[in-house]
Subunit: 210 residues, 2 copies
DNA sequence: GTCTATACGATGATAGAC
DNA sequence: GTCTATCATCGTATAGAC
């Protein structure tokens, strides 16, 4: 059967993480996988098709991980805390977030979608956990759950970015700690008016132009 | 004198913002600036030299803006709030942060430096404002000022990233609002032990390998 | 200082043998 | 399915005229 297909996909996943999409050349994929040109263009239509398959696989893996993390049975906010405190290599970067700023990703909705889907899921899981916590009286029910979700994810991804800029793992760790603190602060404080929930739908529930 | 030099630099600055470093080809710069090959390689040693000059100019401009913002005379934390609430185009992206995740930037310290310098300055200004606030009794003096600075900047840059992933300006705005809330929450609450200042130096004060 | 013409490797894809 | 040529194009830089 297709033995080289897996090798190509695996190499592409690694190279996407390390070099990004634009800098992932077919030649590098071939070298890393041990396959020849023929295998690549037999199993995939070209570079973009390979990258898309690899991205969808990475996105699926990471979504599984998120579901596993959030489908626990403890305190709702404990699951969020677990997400925030996951082990991360700040300098290596967020496996999907790392690609998010590339021009090719912004301009190609097919490539952007698996990345957006992952983040939409994380945001949704945090939103739901915050709502669950509110129903159980563990957090202020006036809190805008979507606002909280977006803010926490932004802290994590921003921490990755700063760690890379400074080539230093510390900012990632500090940002994650800051996110944890914010969550705990929110769980116990009065919420300012502008932070309160409105009837507007969640903004990042689904991505436009997808 | 050098009339085309400015045109080349200006075009490079725009293209770096829009396309990033890897996707900024000399050909595109020439087209956007109206200059020919000769001008480019007369004024600059090559693509990297041009990009470096452009990046340093952008970094200097943005550092001036930050100094202007933080050298005000109001409440120390008011300056930080002003930074957090600056107008931003989330989908277009952070002018310097946008480049931070590229492989070429990570692996070339010369290119990384102007970006890192900008973020180091922002972090330093926030740190100092938090310390000033502590001295004036406006914020808990046990707070780790560096932790706060890194966390707030991470929220802003993470907001940019999410806006780009979702092609939607809303996450950027929500992250900035969340950052504002966190700052205000910190100014009034008890600080958990792990958030407290230690004698360790600020981690991102200067970048390693620079 | 600026231009056009040219060189040359890398990128991304194709052709055809096995 | 996989391999080794081969190819057109682009990205980057140089040469030399004006």
């Amino acid at each position: 059967m297709s033995s080289k297909r897996e090798a190509l996909l695996s190499a592409a996943k690694d190279l996407l993480w390390e070099h990004g999409y634009e800098a992932m050349s077919p030649a590098k994929v071939l070298e890393a996988s041990g396959a020849g040109q023929g295998s690549l263009y037999h199993h995939f239509k070209g570079k973009k098709d390979l990258a898309l398959a690899a991205l969808e696989q990475v996105s699926a893996e990471m979504q599984s991980e998120i579901r596993r993390l959030f489908d626990g049975t403890g305190r709702p906010l404990a699951r969020v805390e677990e997400y925030l405190l996951s082990k991360r290599d700040g300098v290596k970067g967020s496996r999907l977030g790392r690609l998010a700023l590339e021009y090719s990703i912004l301009t190609d909705d097919e490539l952007r979608q698996p990345i957006a889907n992952y983040f939409s899921l994380v945001e949704e899981k945090i939103r739901n956990a915050v709502r669950d916590a509110a129903q159980l009286g563990l957090i202020n029910p006036d809190l805008d759950a979507d606002q909280v979700a977006v803010t926490l994810v932004a802290m994590i991804e921003g921490g990755f970015l700063l760690s890379r800029v400074h080539k230093n793992p510390a900012p990632m760790e500090r940002a994650a700690q800051g996110a944890l603190f914010m969550l705990r602060a929110l769980a116990t404080r009065d919420i300012p008016n502008w932070m309160k929930r409105t009837d507007a739908p969640a903004v990042t529930r689904r991505t436009p132009n997808a």
